[in-house]
Symmetry: C2
Subunit: 563 residues, 2 copies
């Protein structure tokens, strides 16, 4: 047997480890700045690849990520497997029954949101191919079709996250945007599959007509026969096999077969896994817990490795062309925002909502980048255009939320944990209200020049007005303070309980001191409501009471949020 | 860049898909016969590899699983990654603090359970190397050490599952067995790492002393410094990064680095990932939910692919040597059972318990097979011996549970779902007790020649004695019937509720008719208790009420079990 020698194995494991660690680290930093993690992941690859590490220490970069030989091929095999898995998850998230339920507005937004940017992209690419960086050997028609597609696909995961961040996900507007994005994704991918077929990129060497026919046939069978089949088979599998092994094994092996099939007919493997994802994700019998398992493993293992590997492929600095970036960005935004807003207006939405939909749908992400990567691989576009597409995806994602917020005049409600300082975790020795408040104020000391005595006086004044025991063992002493620049929250834990005169006559064990600026009306209400909501559950309060410091406490609250 | 061409990608995806689908399918069939799924997975590989498919249709087998070229190397890379992941999970499960808590009996069982089989194995291999299938070129000392190790490692996952099946897992005896198996695993792996070092199998070509020194150093650092470090770092990661992405990324990248390190120093990559698993798994801050995610994805994706790939490597039929199999089996069982029982007696256990521990610890599994595979790869053992080791692992696992059951005189308590027939799901039209019972008995018709009238009379007689409403919307009408060969359970669903005179005066909506043979005293009690326990939860009852047939109902009950 041709087996790997230990040196190859060591290199492969280190390469994967470095990619994963780098991508997750920068992904987390991106999340900290409220950016989608994919941007951090791509940046990690740029740092590790020819752009930075390759320029500074070419030997190390080459040893880690070789460009030829078995090392390069192994990495290519594993990143291919990773992207196949990622597209499965993308497909699972694209719930097409949601799409149908939203009715005609979705069709209007979807069509107009594809037609407009496609048309602009196609015409630009057709008449100014040099400006847009067409690869010298590329076919003009295929290149123009690619540009049209690349400019018209929205990024469903980015859009969904933006909507969640803005608390819009479950609103009518949010569902409309999501449904339109699903329509968009589906249409875009089918078009792209056809383009790949047109290019005759490989596979079994089918004639063009066959490739396109098989692509449509496969799509149709997946969306009809297989969708219904899964609806029947999955409950049976659930009932008669081990859980979740039966469903997981079935779905993952079908994903591999679907991917192999589409690769074989000459469109890329990812199209097959995306379609399997759509067909499976639509049945209610695919249990949520299993979806979460696949999603988590793929999002935090396969996806980071894939997205980081992109940066290894080219030198982003050398291929950065400012004018091209600007051009791509402008036509991308122009076409998409206008197209979708127009569609929304036609579908009967208000003017304000139509703009919000346009800005929401304008976010691009993983899909543009994956398309671009394939186009680069098959020598359709220049490296400069690829870099411009990546930057366009980043920028459109970044501006989507603020623009929506602005046009809808939204304010995101704040979480109390954002205002807890590390010093603000106090195991209370006090036995009464006053001394508890004094202890908590003392713990953080003076703030913005405000003396502790003054703060205590303000809180006690409020307390005398009406006690702040909320029942359920929680008390929320609070005050508004002039001169404070940002809210401050202090947590006091009193296992023995302190009487804050709550309505249920139980003593308070979790006491949150909340100080807010006088000129910020919303802060106090939002933080109070957030705490009350968070600690409604008895078991959770018990867990919170047994934490030993701010780190543990934050860990607990966050793990609850995410579940 | 050296990239894969589409044909390579298609082949890789199909190979992985076939391995996964075959392994999962036969794994499920194994589970159906109450065998560990790993045996089905290995069997799938034997069917797909040279033993069966290769003999029947060599072209197909070769095309799917090539023995040379890029295809073979890609598969080797991915199976290596798979086994690294599998050993991480094995390490996560080996909770060494459990081991310490059990005290001196564990040390006695562990030591004696390693010493005895090792000694017997070593002496046999030293004096009769030909009999045991030493590879012509292999060093006698290393070969003897390998046999000693291979015969002394217990299979923690198999043992844990056996104990769970017998409801012994949470008993003192069960924890003792688990703790001893962990001790066993740990000692066995360290020994094996040293043997690999002795063999100078590759890596960076360190001198022997260095390899062994580094192995012990790595083990020590993982079990002390890293264990404590994780205990501090994981809550911090949990508090300050996205969940579960932060912890997952950290653990998986450290696994890859640990694996690379041990491969580099000349012991196999799996030792590193096993040690990372142990160091991480021991902290309470590694959340259960994350452990489950990793476990599920690895158990149902990576592990099946790895175990199926074993069968591709050699012809099991051609390498089957009956005498060798028998010999290995006898010395393996003899050494292990006696060694562990003796240790348990020394540790102060009763005679009956000591035998039970011996039989429990005798189960082998994945670890023996993985060790054997490495030994085969490094030309230490013959193919015949490898086959004998695989069969030994299978047989010892199979006889473990029945032998323990026998010596402890246990009877496994039965589940009600095992006695539900497909006809036994009735949406009741009835409004009162009597007609409900008639409807349910009619649904299944005569059983074992017992007429429905007779059954109804028996159930009603019992019902008149004392109504069988259990409260919580559940009623359990039942009767013992002479001439019945096996228990029969029928489920009646009455959304409107039927008065079975339950203690809480709520009408019953879930009605289980339970018929048991008169000569089976335990059955009725076990089934009644099982149903009461299963439907205690209100939301779960609601979910059960809304199922539409037996398949859906079974799916629901099973998904609850597994969670």
């Amino acid at each position: 047997m041709d087996l790997l020698n230990p040196v190859d194995i060591v290199k492969l494991l280190i390469a994967l480890g470095v990619l994963l660690a780098g991508a997750r680290l920068l992904g987390e930093i991106a999340l900290f700045f409220r950016l989608p993690s994919i941007f951090g992941e791509i940046l990690a690859g740029i740092l590790l690849g020819p752009t930075v590490l390759g320029a500074v220490a070419p030997d190390i970069s080459m040893a880690l990520f070789p460009k030829s030989g078995i090392g390069a091929q192994l990495l290519d095999g594993i990143t291919t497997l990773s992207i196949v898995m990622f597209l499965l998850v993308a497909g699972l998230e694209a719930d097409i029954s949601t799409m149908w339920r939203q009715g005609k507005a979705v069709v209007a937004i979807g069509f107009s949101g594809i037609l407009f940017p496609s048309l602009i992209g196609f015409l630009m690419a057709w008449y100014f191919p040099g400006l847009l960086g067409r690869h010298p050997g590329a076919d003009p028609l295929i290149f123009s079709l690619f540009i049209a597609t690349a400019l018209s696909i929205s990024a469903l995961p980015v859009i969904a996250r933006t909507l969640m961040d803005l608390d819009l996900y479950h609103t009518d507007l949010g569902m409309m945007v999501v449904a339109s994005a699903i329509f968009n994704d589906l249409a875009g991918w089918i078009t792209f599959a056809v383009i790949l077929g047109l290019m005759g990129t490989g596979g079994h060497g089918f004639p063009l007509g066959w490739t396109i026919g098989l692509t449509f046939g496969f799509t149709l069978v997946m969306l009809t026969v297989f969708r219904r089949l899964f609806d029947k088979i999955l409950p049976w599998v659930q009932a008669h096999t081990s859980w979740p092994g039966g469903q997981l094994g079935l779905v993952l092996s079908l994903t591999l077969f679907g991917a192999a099939f589409t690769e074989w007919i000459g469109v890329h493997a990812i199209f097959g896994s995306f379609m399997v994802g759509i067909a499976v994700g639509d049945t209610p019998h695919f249990r949520e817990r299993l979806r979460v398992t696949i999603d988590q493993f793929v999002s935090f293992f396969f996806a980071p490795i894939f997205f980081a590997s992109i940066g290894l492929k080219l030198n982003f600095a050398a291929s950065f062309d400012f004018l091209l970036v600007l051009l791509v960005l402008i036509i991308a935004c122009f076409g998409k925002v206008l197209g979708c807003s127009l569609g929304a207006r036609i579908g009967g939405m208000s003017k304000r909502e139509s703009w919000a939909i346009g800005f929401g749908m304008n976010a691009r992400g993983a899909m543009e980048i994956i398309l671009g990567l394939l186009a680069l691989r098959y020598a359709l576009i220049s490296e400069e255009l690829f870099v411009a597409l990546v930057i366009m995806a980043v920028v459109t994602s970044l501006i989507s939320a603020p623009l929506m917020q602005n046009v809808l005049r939204l304010k995101k409600s704040r979480r109390f944990i954002d205002f807890l300082s590390t010093k603000g975790f106090v195991k209370l020795a006090a036995g009464d209200r006053k001394s508890a408040i004094v202890e908590m104020v003392d713990a953080i000391g003076d703030i913005n020049g405000l003396r502790t005595e003054k703060i205590i006086a303000a809180v006690m004044k409020r307390e005398r007005l009406m006690p702040t025991g909320m029942g359920h063992e929680v008390a929320l002493p609070h005050a508004r303070l002039e001169g404070l620049s940002t809210p401050v929250v202090v947590l006091g834990i009193a296992p023995g309980g302190i009487d804050f005169k709550g309505p249920d006559s139980f003593p308070a064990r979790l006491i949150f001191l909340i100080l807010t600026p006088t000129d910020d009306n919303g802060a106090q209400v939002e933080i109070l409501a957030d705490i009350a909501r968070t600690f409604r559950d008895r078991d959770f309060r018990k867990a919170a009471l047994s934490t030993h410091g701010m780190t543990e406490f934050l860990a607990l609250v966050r793990s609850k949020e995410e579940q």
